[in-house]
């Protein structure tokens, strides 16, 4: 008897807690629904657990969301595919709740179950469910229905298919904009399952209606449909039906619709092919680049490179480049910033001559932009332009920009530029770097902001990796070690951090001869924080230094620290000593 009790007890708790007052406990039970189901067995899960869940669906959203998710993977617990349909009723009710994320999850789970169900079961159970939802009294049910058609449609017999298409087109004309938005969003998925003959007639009619909807929010979702539908249609149909819509959308009264076009235009070009792109979409794109609304220009500017790539260099030079020139002095800093983040990519498209002649002046003006983000965006993509024009031309204008950013008032800007230093170093080479940037890198170690000092230490490590230990020994280590005597303890701490980062890169010899003595000296620091950080650094040396050095230098130092008056110092040095002992034991 007790043998049976033991495993049942925790399950009994879980089941009872499905209805506990504490939401955390309910949530926990729902998350372990599969455990409960396994204990109950397949048949009782079908006959008791699932109906129980279907009835008790007025719980908090978090619980419902978890339930919707769990049920999506519940097929094995109800007895496999032949019984999958028992999972539909609880999910159907979840499809009607008013919280969007619960509905979305329920639809996702239904799609997951539906895509595994047998064809006859789909017809018997799934399709009626879709129809019920689509005819739901409340808009929430109808919104959910739109996301299920692409699962239901393929298995439906001919009669039912016709009905489903009709229902979908009704949903696209629903009174509630929410339903039309959902229908618009899901149109691409549904269209992909519809036979080509109906695609051209029924689906295109639906699409056309959506593109003329008077709600902006519906029309702008139809823009996404353009790309999805375009990929399904034959090229000539695409040009006949989709292209005009795109061109109209690109001149829509609502900036939000034009914004969507600007964002999607690249995908749309792929859908219609190269020839119509040249004749129709390039003018549309140029219009968007010159749009009145800054948001639209931002979206369009961000696609300059992607768009140029699918054009010939001549077309790009002739149509796109003049706009790029205008945008580089746009009144909105966000437009310039978006342009700066992609403009580097145009260099390979235009080729060396055009880049030097046309693009370089734009780079340079953006590098001098008053807005730090713009400058940063240019610098972050420097490797791309370097490949085309070489560093010599750039370096003269680059350096002042870098120095200015390195001393920017906003620490986030300084942080960003530090993160690009290793990239710059690899592009500029050792020689250039030594002259100009070396001093800056050291200066950051004494920044007022901790994040900058931390990033500066990390930067040194990456530089050492880039240029090798010998170079670092000459250009980094002496300066760093010198700062170990800084009167301010926070700077000494930064140096300790830098040392622990540099040690693995510098290797055994330099660590023992140069770094270790400095660390040991700092063990006598009057600030406790420094001393326990010494213990931490020494622990990090364990994998690097030899055993003899360990015994001769590291251990005595730690033994001394273990007796420290400060509790934290004792803790960390004890921890380090234990780690050493462990290494000794295993070796």
């Amino acid at each position: 008897m007790s043998m049976v009790d033991e495993p049942l007890y925790p399950i009994a708790v879980l089941i009872d807690e499905l209805k506990n007052d504490d939401i955390q406990l309910r949530l926990n039970s729902i998350r372990k629904l599969s455990t409960i189901a396994r204990a109950l067995g397949e048949e009782r899960t079908r006959k008791e657990l699932i109906p129980f869940l279907s009835e008790n669906n007025d719980d908090d959203d978090e619980v419902l969301l978890a339930m919707a998710e769990e049920l999506g993977v519940f097929i094995p617990y109800v007895g496999g595919l032949e019984h999958a349909h028992v999972l539909l009723p609880p999910l159907e009710t979840l499809c009607t709740v008013e919280e969007t994320c619960v509905r979305d999850k329920a639809v996702e789970s239904l799609c997951r179950i539906g895509s595994q169900m047998r064809e006859t079961d789909l017809v018997d159970w799934f399709i009626p469910l879709v129809k019920r939802l689509a005819a739901g009294e409340w808009f929430t049910a109808r919104v959910s229905a739109c996301g299920l058609f692409h699962i239901a449609y393929p298995s439906a017999p001919e009669m039912l298919k016709t009905e489903l298409r009709t229902i979908y087109s009704q949903l696209c004309q629903d009174d509630m904009p929410m339903v039309r938005r959902s229908a618009s969003t899901n149109l691409g998925k549904f269209a992909a399952t519809v036979e080509p003959s109906y695609l051209k007639t029924d689906v295109m009619q639906i699409f056309e209606d959506l593109t003329q909807d008077d709600q902006d929010s519906v029309r702008l979702l139809a823009v996404e449909g353009c790309a999805a539908l375009g990929k399904l249609l034959e090229p000539q149909d695409c040009i006949a039906h989709i292209l005009p819509v795109i061109v109209i959308f690109s001149q829509d009264k609502s900036w939000r619709v034009r914004y969507m076009v600007a964002n999607q235009l690249y995908e749309l070009c792929e859908a219609v092919g190269p020839e119509p792109t040249k004749t129709d979409l390039v003018p549309a794109y140029v219009r968007l680049l010159r749009d009145n609304e800054a948001e639209v220009r931002i979206a369009a500017a961000g696609k300059v490179t992607k768009f140029s790539r699918i054009l010939s260099p001549e077309l790009a030079l002739q149509h796109i480049l003049p706009c790029v020139k205008e945008l580089s002095s746009d009144s909105s800093q966000h437009v310039r910033s978006a342009l700066a983040s992609v403009i580097m990519g145009m260099a390979p498209v235009l080729g060396k001559d055009a880049t030097i002649e046309q693009l370089l002046p734009i780079f340079l003006s953006l590098l001098k932009d008053e807005f730090p983000d713009v400058r940063l965006n240019i610098i972050s993509k420097l490797d791309q332009v370097n490949q085309v024009i070489g560093i010599d031309l750039l370096s003269q204008s680059l350096l002042p920009a870098i120095v200015e950013l390195a001393e920017d008032r906003h620490w986030r800007v300084r942080l960003a530029i530090i993160e690009y230093i290793p990239l710059l170093a690899s592009q500029l080479g050792v020689g250039f770097f030594d002259d100009k940037l070396g001093a800056l890198c050291m200066q950051w170690l004494q920044d007022k902001v901790y994040s900058i000092r931390e990033a500066a230490a990390n930067n040194l490590k990456r530089l050492a990796e880039e240029f090798g230990p010998d170079w670092a020994m000459q250009h980094i280590i002496p300066q760093v070690l010198e700062m170990a005597n800084n009167p301010h303890y926070l700077y000494r701490m930064t140096i300790l951090g830098a040392i622990s980062l540099l040690a693995p890169v510098m290797g055994l010899e330099i660590t023992c001869s140069k770094l270790l003595p400095v660390v040991v000296t700092l063990a006598k620091d009057r600030v406790a924080n420094i001393r326990f950080n010494v213990a931490k650094v020494l622990q990090s040396f364990i994998p690097i230094v030899e055993q003899s050095v360990m015994e001769k230098t590291v251990r005595p130092c730690l033994v001394e620290l273990v007796e420290d008056p400060d509790v934290d110092v004792r803790f960390f040095s004890k921890q380090a000593l234990d780690a050493i002992d462990q290494v000794m034991m295993t070796s």
Partner: protein, 501 residues
């Protein structure tokens, strides 16, 4: 309850009759400050009415006369009223929407007073509404919830518990009568610490639900906060069902109902230098059907229509409606009394009604040269503007409303009076009603009225619309017209009066 009111006969005008009153004041009863009604709003169907008050509470009323008798017979009978033609409402529920807060950074108290209520799309038999105080907008769901008695647990002795209610946040701390949302909260066994010896669990079973009583539960679904530096004066839903706007003195923000963490600024009137400030936003509303259009009014007496399609930041209006003062008529008060306190779109969205201190004006959005109609509300107060300025009454913000058919408009005044005007072509209808059980008594009989002027003697010589004594402390600011029938709900301090015609 009905039939008490006298009949107001105006040419072609409506006969307004008293229908109902909620929270009527007994003679000599002091009005509690927190009970003063500060917002009234019908939902789209007109089957529900919400009021907000100074104490941060939202009270919901439900129409009973049209609802299926089978379900609500008990309620109707309990109210002891004969079935009638006009809308009858009964108290449904109330909840504490906002609490007083303190902004420690700015050292400012944030009142709990409800500034505006707006109904949202209903779904799944639940009601949704937005309520706002000066700073924070909240999205509420009010729903019948099953009170479930669970029993037959696996582990505990047969003991039942009520599940699923956390009522603390919603139970108002007032002395008014209300239906508690929760019922008894009886914490069930905590299994984690349960040391009961368990014996003989030989089989598992699911708990059973034994009771299906329902109770109304209001739950705050979302809180849209920290987006307004100034006091919020309006909120308005968009016809697209997914967005709404909130307007404060200088800015209008656009929200997605589902996203409470960010909003977009669409109008910003804040000058670079606050000393250059000449105009503030007083009210804003979305067009009833065009999702891209919204109108806002200003303290300078203008109504601006903007098109959200034009640009992301709509600082430039597409249309400006204002009436130019006749030259020479300008006085010290001109600017103050031209400030618009409320605007409302008519149902079709072609007309906008605006209320300034002296008048109601009807604007056609296709004609920006001037209003198509002007109704005098406070013209008789013109000689007394000086007194009204002295006691700040001149800054009172009267709301206005339109009937569902767009044939009539209404707005409030002092002495708990409100006026209804016919605005259809050629109509001369102009009725003055008093928010009492006998709305037309002032016109029929003009008894000398004893004025209660609590500790403030400055209103002595003022007369109201009908030439009676006038009391600027008994102002009727808030009123709402039923969306489809001739029925008006209006707030006279803490009482909600309803009239029909």
């Amino acid at each position: 309850m009905d039939g008490e009111g006298d009949v107001a006969m105006t040419p072609e005008g409506l006969e307004w009759k008293f229908s109902q009153v909620f929270g009527e004041r007994a003679a000599g009863e002091e009005v509690q400050e927190v009970d003063i009604i500060t917002a009234i709003e019908f939902d789209k169907t007109g089957d529900h009415l919400a009021t907000g008050d100074r104490g941060g509470r939202v009270v919901l009323f439900e129409r009973t006369d049209r609802i299926d008798e089978g379900v609500h017979r008990g309620v109707v009978e309990a109210m002891d009223c004969s079935s009638s033609q006009h809308p009858e409402f009964h108290y449904k529920t109330e909840f504490q929407s906002h609490e007083p807060e303190f902004d420690y950074l700015k050292s400012l108290e944030i009142e709990e007073k409800i500034n505006k209520i707006r109904w949202c799309q209903t779904s799944n038999n639940a009601m949704f509404l937005l309520s706002t105080n000066d700073k924070t907008i909240k999205f509420w769901k009010v729903q019948e919830k099953k009170v479930k008695k669970m029993c037959n647990f696996n582990l505990d002795p047969p003991k039942s518990t009520i599940n699923g209610f956390i009522s603390s946040s919603n139970v108002p701390a007032s002395s008014k009568t209300f239906v508690t949302n929760g019922g008894c909260i009886d914490n069930p066994l905590n299994f984690r610490s349960n040391s009961l010896p368990f014996r003989g669990i030989t089989s598992l079973h699911l708990p059973t639900v034994t009771s299906h009583e329902t109770s109304l539960l209001a739950k705050c679904r979302r809180t849209y906060a920290h987006a307004h530096d100034y006091h919020i004066n309006s909120i308005s839903n968009n016809s697209d069902g997914e967005t709404f706007i909130s307007a404060d003195d200088l800015r209008i923000n656009l929200w997605n109902l589902e996203i409470s963490s960010q909003s977009f600024n669409i109008v910003d009137m804040k000058p670079a230098n606050m000393e250059d400030l000449t105009e503030v936003i007083t009210s804003a509303e979305f067009h009833p059907s065009h999702c891209n259009m919204l109108a806002y009014s200003s303290s300078k007496g203008s109504v601006r229509l903007i098109d959200l399609r034009q640009s992301a930041l709509c600082d430039t209006h597409s249309k400006l409606f204002e009436e130019h003062e006749a030259p020479g008529s300008k006085s010290f008060f001109t600017d103050i009394i031209s400030s618009i306190s409320d605007i409302k779109f008519a149902k079709g969205g072609r007309y906008i009604l605006s209320r300034d201190y002296m008048t109601l004006k009807m604007w056609d959005i296709n004609m920006d040269s001037g209003p198509v109609a002007t109704f005098q509300v406070h013209e008789h107060l013109r000689p007394k503007l000086c007194d009204l300025y002295e006691n700040d009454a001149i800054f009172d913000k009267f709301e206005c409303c339109l009937s569902g058919d767009g044939e009539r408009v209404a707005t409030g005044s002092y002495s708990h009076l409100f006026r209804v005007f016919g605005c259809s072509e050629g109509s001369t209808e102009a009725t003055t009603l008093e928010a009492t059980k006998n709305p037309t008594r002032r016109q029929v009989q003009t008894p000398p009225r004893f004025l209660r002027s609590p500790g403030n003697s400055s209103h002595g010589g003022l007369d109201d619309i009908n030439g009676n004594g006038f009391d600027s402390t008994t102002k009727l600011l808030h009123l709402a017209w039923h969306p489809s029938e001739n029925s008006i709900a209006c707030a006279a301090s803490n009482s909600l009066y309803m009239y029909y015609a």
